[in-house]
Subunit: 222 residues, 2 copies
Amino acid sequence: MTDQREHILGCACDLYLEAGMEGFSMRKLAQQVGVTAPALYRHFENREDLLLQVVGEAHNVLGSYLYRALSASTPRERFSAAGEAYMEFALEHPRYFQIMHAFAEHLGLSEVPVEVEERMGGVKRFWDDRVRECMESGVLRRDDPDRVGLTLWAHAYGLLSLYLRGLLDAPESAFRELYGDSFARILRGLATTEYGADLDQHLTHSRESGPTRISPVDGTTP
Amino acid sequence: MTDQREHILGCACDLYLEAGMEGFSMRKLAQQVGVTAPALYRHFENREDLLLQVVGEAHNVLGSYLYRALSASTPRERFSAAGEAYMEFALEHPRYFQIMHAFAEHLGLSEVPVEVEERMGGVKRFWDDRVRECMESGVLRRDDPDRVGLTLWAHAYGLLSLYLRGLLDAPESAFRELYGDSFARILRGLATTEYGADLDQHLTHSRESGPTRISPVDGTTP
DNA sequence: GTCTATAATCCGATAGAC
DNA sequence: GTCTATCGGATTATAGAC
């Protein structure tokens, strides 16, 4: 009873996880807590403030998943474990996964709150660190860790989002296999060795100039 | 005036593109159309039905972007153009990009409507076709086009989503460069050649069994 | 800190006249 | 096909008593 605020926050997380963003209201929350709606405003400024705290909890849970990955003993194992931890979090807490990436959008905000931005920066840095130590130990090619981290993060995020939104018609077991498979493909590369050389050349020069090119690049080599 | 239904649909698209999902209501739409709210129900069953048509329009617009990419003359150029077209669509019509991927979620539906599922299948097939013809012409490594297509699609979708949600603090010009760069990295591969061999072995065997593995794999080779 | 009561809006959808 | 009028409901948030 001392920390009624935390009790409310716990109920808010439960309610959101059960009902999603559409089904979340201050009235329902009050009912679940066992008080009346106005009482909530003694502890939280408004609905937005409250949901921001829920996002914070989502980040805490993700953090605990990622932290576990650090107990592996080599960079390549930590890297692998991190990728799996990110997937496990998304599959076991899909609503958390959604709200932390789409908070501003869900609330119709034009800007991402700084709290969320900072927390998300932490997630990104975690990826970058796994990448960096894999580069240092020769598992990953030497490259800009920040960019490589983003590529990996975007791929994982995209794959999980498409799955959670029901846009991939695969059962969970199949998806898990697909996720690891897709990761492996990215690490190994998709282009033939012939065109791979082309790409190396592209990347060496692209840091300075030029329009966006995606793929087997500019018309130089046939 | 003959096709008032189309006029309403046009206004609905405009209203959604301006106000987003949060700001979309039958009343506001009616006001924009210049009629009263009940009149809308002569043309559309309900709000959900109407928004489903908006999603359809979003797919039409994306389709027109992708279609343009087919005018390139070689598989590798069509591939490159397709990736750029997907990006251009997302950057120029961010709301359309969002609603077509998150329609069910936005409306609190538990299942993705079949119309959306089919349309999205078309997008996926377009990616797969670009991949397939690149494999046949030796630009991409021979592999399962369906899986490779998914990897590329997920990466592009993830990167664009993160950017549109304001989770990447980069201006648009920087993002465009980043997008192409990230694509090139995936095509070339991220692992060192040494560990790349490991991955090849993994992929060869993984089609049949085993738990999800992500990266430099199983403890066999040091 | 919590209550009752209520303000002030907004929403989707329908009935029935024209 | 469109209107007026309205039903029936939801929501966030506040005022003031206890």
